[in-house]
């Protein structure tokens, strides 16, 4: 099934590489519906994902994290930039090549209620990808569907049931099974647990981890909940208003966050420990509109350590520690060895 040339399967081989990805959504207005402005959803984002790892992509609503995931799978066409999968530029693919790529890159959505066709028994929803790709005969497809159901902890008889007969957690497993049945190498997990109750969320996270271990999957885990991201990711990228502001290994990021935004994000999370006393950084104000982002560093109007320079000069991502990059002029002061 590997139609795409794959690189030597060494430890550190990059499976996915995103280069200077930009996605602007035009805003139309007026009588003639001309483009009057652009929502700068994703603005010059670059990162890479190593085969077999989970990259967490975290940020608040409207920061563009979901758009990044959807653009990588060509569910949205990017304004510019490159997405390399196993060295192939996916954005240049068309027709059958694109269709083949879609077997290898899959997605699991946030809303387990909206992401399944309500009219189809879930077995058919799961089998649909196989039908589209003309994989095997009906019997073989059925066997694959049953196998995928088993992998996510559902039973054979569930295949004939309809989405509305399942709980939220079960539906999310169905969504995972639909992605799995294609035998992908890479899955974008777009807020897969944020619509679920905590006890159900834990189950889905456990399943995702087990599947990664047993099938060697590579994940992009998009979420707004830092604790969940920390739990599942090997490396984490933090986004703010269309830009990546910090990328680091999990342990490094959580023990030594360098960007003031990351620090604020972490201190804002309520901790389930009433005895804990923390010095909180509470950010002032709201997230600015991506229609008209602030000049210079996009975080400067809310930043506790911002200076003159921040409103003028946009900080570039710099590697302050091995494998730990940050886009902030004044982050050096936070570096701990």
């Amino acid at each position: 099934m590997t139609a795409l040339p794959s690189q030597p399967n060494g430890r550190n081989s990059k499976l996915v590489e995103v280069r200077n990805l930009v996605k602007y959504f035009p805003v139309r207005g007026g009588v003639l519906q001309q483009v009057v402005a652009h929502v700068q959803a994703v603005d010059d984002v670059s990162f890479e994902i190593i085969e077999g790892e989970t990259l967490g992509l975290v940020g608040e609503s409207g920061c563009g994290k979901t758009t990044v995931g959807r653009t990588m799978l060509r569910l949205e066409e990017p304004t510019s930039g490159q997405v390399l999968f196993s060295g192939v530029d996916t954005l240049s693919l068309k027709g059958d090549d694109l269709k083949r790529l879609r077997r290898e890159m899959q997605i699991v959505f946030q809303d387990p209620f909206a992401s399944l066709d309500p009219r189809l028994p879930i077995g058919e929803s799961i089998a649909e990808g196989l039908i589209i790709h003309g994989a095997g005969n009906a019997r073989e497809r059925y066997a694959q569907v049953i196998e995928a159901l088993g992998r996510v902890g559902l039973e054979v008889y569930h295949a004939n049931r309809y989405p509305h007969e399942f709980s939220g957690g079960q539906r999310q497993r169905i969504g995972i099974a639909r992605a799995l049945v294609m035998s992908p190498r890479f899955i974008v997990l777009d807020e897969p647990v944020s619509a679920l109750d905590v006890s159900i969320q834990a189950e889905v996270l456990n399943i995702l981890k087990e599947l990664q271990d047993s099938m060697g999957l590579t994940y992009l885990f998009v979420a707004h909940n830092l604790a969940v991201v920390e739990h599942i990711s090997d490396r984490v990228a933090v986004m703010y208003l269309g830009k990546i502001v910090e990328v680091a290994g999990r342990a490094d990021l959580f023990h030594n966050p360098l960007h003031p935004y990351t620090q604020a994000l972490m201190s804002a999370i309520p901790m389930p420990d009433p005895t804990l006393k923390r010095d909180r950084v509470i950010l002032k104000g709201d997230v600015p509109s991506p229609l008209n982002p602030p000049s210079g560093c996009r975080f400067h109007p809310r930043c506790p350590i911002a200076e003159e320079r921040c409103s003028v000069e946009e900080p570039l991502l710099r590697e302050l520690k091995p494998g730990h990059t940050v886009a902030c002029h004044f982050a050096d002061q936070f570096v701990m060895s």
């Binding site: 997605i107 992401s115 509305h164």
Partner: protein, 315 residues
Amino acid sequence: MTSIPEAAALPAASLRSNSLLRLTLRRLTRQRNARVGLTILISLILVAAFAPLIAPYEPNRDLIGIEPVTQRQKPCIHLLGCPADQPQHIMGIDANYRDVFSRVVYGTRVSLMVGFTTIGMAILVGTLLGAVAGYAGGWADNVIMRFMDVLLAFPGFLLAIAIITVLGRGLQNALYAIAIVNIPHFARVVRASVLSIKEQEFVAATRALGASDTRILFLRILPNALPPLIVQGTLGIAGAILEAAALSFLGIGAQPPTPEWGTMLGTERNQVFTAPHLVFFPGIAIMITVLAFNLLGDGLRDAMDPRLAQVSKPR
């Protein structure tokens, strides 16, 4: 690996699956209005199907010389005291010495046929146009929907008359006219549903699996756009039957001697006071039929809208 089998969450007894269709039907049959509408409609269909068995006479056969009848003779019902030696005509006799009951019975065929075929045509064309407009967007959407707006800018009935003027009078052309007038309504309904459904995640999920646009539109989006279409269609049939009757009443729809309720009304409209039975019975027939479709349409709307699912409280 085994994580916790969540199968326990589903009661094992309900192994039978509940499709949305089955749920909708169950909710539909729980509503009194819809039950009434459905019952009337089924009876009408039976009447239409077995018209030759139910009607005592041929609808177009004049009875001069066969029975002792007079022009516009009042109804004669034996149970209500009409002398047994007179032949029974429960809805009376019309100006051409024909049995009105038989004509009303056969009229059911015409009206149902009119309703189903016109709306069928309108749905077919409207769905196609609306689906393309909603899914493709851009200039296709603009061209199609502005054309629909132009059609909607005319009062529907006047437009139908205008179309018949061009095509020529007659039942068949009246059908085309009514169908054309109804197309924009369906195009709009379908476009609106397609617009909202195409943004749903299961559509994106299907696209991520590599599905083509045609597959997505026809297998994923359109079937989910059906509920509002079915409601609009059912209500539309009621409207179409009325419009056809009105056109026939004006003399430009079904032509005599076709046993059409509107035509029957139209030809005898001057006799309302002298022979009320000639307008009363076809009028009632139209009313009952339209009412049936409207009741059913409203019921379907409620049954298909999950927000209205909770009702009924036993105390």
